[in-house]
């Protein structure tokens, strides 16, 4: 009897792999629960009808054609950064330098726009921008990768530090290129001549980033799942010793994969500067280099799932700010709601991998 009493109320037991419909069911349940909790909190703290709140979330993301385009464009950018980080994560290389790689890519593009505008024809300026951004992103990723491959330095620290260097470089060049003097702002580059502004596809400002995101998503899915290099990445991620044993040059894989990561981040920088903002600021990446880490992990490194995860984050983000418009709530309120929803989504992964076995049930099973 005594032993029985000491037995805890429930055990945490690892689950067998769930069928896909069950795991999706758990995730949907988590989102529904999160929405219910958000509704309760909203009603208690503000007295606003939760149904109206959810309506305006949807309006915020898809209320007008323009809103829909902006939502899709924002999803593309977050998705692209997540895709860029994923191959590195898959080989257990903790690349948290996405922010810096994006920034430095953007800075390179801006430099081309500012310095070459009266020296080269527009098309060549764009070619230079593409090359410079990709190269800058690659260099920014290559430095930590090289040190990791050569001397096994801690890449978490080095990629993180590279972020700060990139931010400070952008801050420095902001002062160099500021207009007017002393204002600390570059402003829109080549606003009248539009030199170095990436072309609008089918007359839409927003389409370019979206198309690039679609192409890179498909590419990354195939690359990770069906290419030899993608396989090498998984093997290095699973076990470096196994990789060495089967003759994979681990250092080479690390460097090659990080170059790919950096190139895609540089590409995002190019899109942010050349196609979207037409300027560069220290906050142009807006922390998405870090949000992308979350997206990549939440999606278990599956590019197709990443589309959904980044969509969810951007949808909530844009919806939540609409709530604040309509109901006059403070900025922080949308952060609270997004926080609750992310909490549930991340939390539900626990229940997908594990289950709680309660004492009575366990007894029954034993019998």
């Amino acid at each position: 009897m005594n032993e029985k009493n000491k037995e805890p109320f429930f055990h945490v037991v690892k689950r067998d792999a769930l069928p896909w419909y069950q795991s999706i069911g758990i995730r949907i349940a988590a989102i529904v629960l999160a929405l219910i909790l958000c509704a309760i909190i909203t009603t208690i703290t503000t007295g606003i009808n939760p149904i109206q709140v959810y309506q305006s979330i949807f309006i915020g993301a898809f209320g007008t054609t323009r809103k829909t385009w902006i939502t899709l464009q924002n999803v593309s950018i977050l998705l692209l950064i997540s895709l860029a980080l994923t191959p590195a994560f898959k080989m257990k290389f903790w690349n948290i330098g996405g922010e810096g790689q994006v920034l430095i890519g953007g800075l390179a593009a801006a430099a081309c726009m500012i310095c070459l505008d009266d020296k080269l024809p527009n098309v060549l300026v764009m070619v230079c921008m593409v090359i410079a951004s990709l190269a800058a992103g690659i260099v920014w990723a290559l430095i930590p990768a090289f040190f990791k491959a050569k001397w096994n330095t801690n890449e978490t620290l080095s990629t993180l530090m590279m972020n700060y260097i990139a931010t400070q470089l952008v801050a420095f060049f902001t002062i160099v290129w500021e207009v007017p003097k002393g204002s600390g702002k570059i402003g829109i580059i080549n606003q009248d001549s539009n030199i170095g502004w990436l072309p609008q596809i089918f007359g839409s400002k927003y389409l370019l980033s979206i198309l690039v995101a679609v192409i890179i998503t498909v590419f990354m899915y195939i690359y990770l799942n069906y290419s030899k290099q993608g396989y090498e990445i998984s093997v290095v991620g699973e076990s470096e010793n196994t990789a060495k044993y089967v003759g994979i040059k681990v250092g080479k894989v690390i460097i090659r994969t990080m170059m790919l990561s950096g190139a895609i981040c540089g590409l995002v920088g190019l899109l942010l500067v050349g196609s979207i903002n037409h300027t560069v600021t220290t906050t142009i990446a807006g922390g998405q280099g870090f949000t992308a880490v979350l997206v990549s992990w939440m999606s278990k490194f599956n590019p197709l799932t990443m589309v959904l995860s980044s969509f969810l984050i951007i949808f909530m983000d844009r919806g939540a700010s609409e709530i604040s418009t309509t109901f006059g709530l403070n900025h922080s309120y949308s952060d609270i709601l997004t926080g609750i929803i992310l909490f549930f989504i991340i939390g539900c992964e626990f229940f997908i991998s594990y289950k709680l076995q309660f004492r009575k049930k366990a007894e029954k099973e034993e019998q």
């Binding site: 002393g182 402003g187 300027t279 807006g286 418009t325 992310l342």
Partner: protein
């Protein structure tokens, strides 16, 4: 049963703490992108007095005004705009849509376009970096009027629906400087400091003309009553950085500054002064409630007259001035109520100085009151038409004084001369 509950709680606590890290960091990173918008329902009540007043007031009803602000009400700068926008819209019966926390990037263009899509007739942005994006939006919506505070480009952009607005805030700074000078005199008379120790400190954002014009007029105001005053200026490299502003103020205080003023938008410098017991001249609005012992006075631009003017123009279908510069007379430049710490006779002194400024007997940047590298500034070409090479293009010293914004050239300040008596501690920004 107790144990059951306890173990359940323990597991819950573990799960929560393990996951909380992820949740909160995610919320932080998305913070930069999220924009929050606030709507103030304009009260469309037909006030009996308004109905009788004029036809224009009645015509503004049914208009919709959109406002784009860089931060929210926690920034003194944006709060000043926010209050004016709400007050003006309420008075004129205009529907008011406010978007706060809009960064100085493409988000500003998107916000302006969303406001135009939503049917706004008049769209206003408050931060310097918004200007280029407002111009882009103005090109796309020629039927909507766009106004931008502190901008420099409207007079060269040749867009009929894009306008700049500012106010001769250097007049207000000059008056606030007189309050500071009187306080210094009081401290000298009380024997707290000697006349040579009358050193003021100033926390600025950037080495930008608006800031330089601001601290120079403040200094000239102080020196007009306290001739031995000197000043040290430090820059934070940000319009809103509470920590940097607080550190900047503390650095100045340690450096021997006995009075602090600032041109940056957080409560950093005023709270540092309150902690250290150093008198503070504030900006954008009274900080008396947070700093009751050290607050002297604050100069601010009251944007209500401009909003009313612009909205009335929209209603009447007349053109808004390309460059509108408010003044003491239009009620755009104001001093707040004086704090309890000011010297005796301050109110009388500023009333007299204000009358002189309005009458034109005194000019803030009178070249007989300051020198540049030991010589009088007989001639100065300012960069009035903004370009990437900062080309000087207009002679602005006319009739014995520097014609700062509002005189004729443009609404945003362009005084960026380094005058004697002011030491810049750092010019990195």
């Amino acid at each position: 049963m107790k144990k059951k509950v306890l173990s359940l709680l323990a597991v819950m606590a573990l799960t929560v703490s393990a996951l909380a890290g992820c949740g909160s960091s995610a919320a932080d990173t998305t913070e930069a992108e999220t924009t929050t918008e606030a709507t103030a329902e304009a009260e469309t009540e037909t006030e009996t007095e308004a109905a009788g007043e004029t036809e224009t007031a009645a015509a503004t009803e049914g208009l919709k005004a959109g406002f784009i602000f860089l931060h929210d009400e926690n920034s003194t700068y944006d709060l000043n705009f926010l209050n004016a926008a709400k007050a003006a819209c309420e008075k004129l019966g205009v529907e008011c849509v406010i978007k706060t926390n809009i960064p100085e990037g493409q988000e500003c263009y998107e916000a302006a376009c969303e406001l135009a899509d939503a049917g706004c007739n008049f769209i206003f942005a408050d931060s310097f970096g918004h200007e280029d994006y407002m111009i882009e939006a103005a090109k796309e919506y020629p039927d909507v009027q766009f106004s931008h505070a502190t901008g420099t480009k409207a007079h060269t952009e040749n867009l009929a629906n894009f306008h700049n607005a500012f106010a001769s805030i250097y007049d207000g700074r000059y008056l606030a400087g007189i309050v500071a000078g009187m306080k210094l005199n009081e401290m000298i008379d009380n024997g707290e400091i000697t006349a040579d120790q009358a050193k003021m400190g100033y926390v600025g954002a950037y080495t930008y003309a608006e800031v330089i014009s601001g601290y120079t007029s403040f200094f000239l105001g102080a020196r007009s009553v306290c001739p031995t005053v000197t000043m040290e200026v430090t820059f934070t490299g940000s319009w809103y950085d509470e920590t940097a502003e607080k550190e900047g103020a503390n650095k100045l205080i340690e450096d021997g500054c006995v009075l602090i003023s600032q041109h940056a938008d957080s409560m950093g410098a005023p709270t540092a002064c309150e902690t250290a017991g150093v008198p503070n001249v504030s900006y954008n609005g009274s900080t008396a409630s947070a700093c009751p012992n050290t607050f002297l006075v604050s100069s601010r631009i009251n944007w209500e007259p401009y909003f009313e003017y612009a909205l009335n123009c929209v209603a009447a279908g007349t053109a808004i001035d390309t460059d509108w510069c408010g003044s003491l007379e239009t009620g755009s430049v104001e001093l707040t109520d004086l704090g309890s710490a000011v010297a005796e006779g301050t109110q009388e002194a500023i009333d007299a100085a204000k009358a002189d400024l309005i009458a034109g007997n005194v000019h803030v940047f009178d070249i007989s009151t300051f020198t540049v590298e030991g010589a009088a500034l007989e001639s100065f070409e300012a960069d009035v038409d903004t370009d990437a090479d900062y080309t000087p293009d207009h002679e602005v010293v006319i009739d014995g004084y520097f014609h700062e914004s509002g005189e004729e050239f443009r609404s945003a300040p362009y005084f960026n001369v380094q005058i004697d008596g002011i030491t810049l501690l750092d010019t990195a920004f």
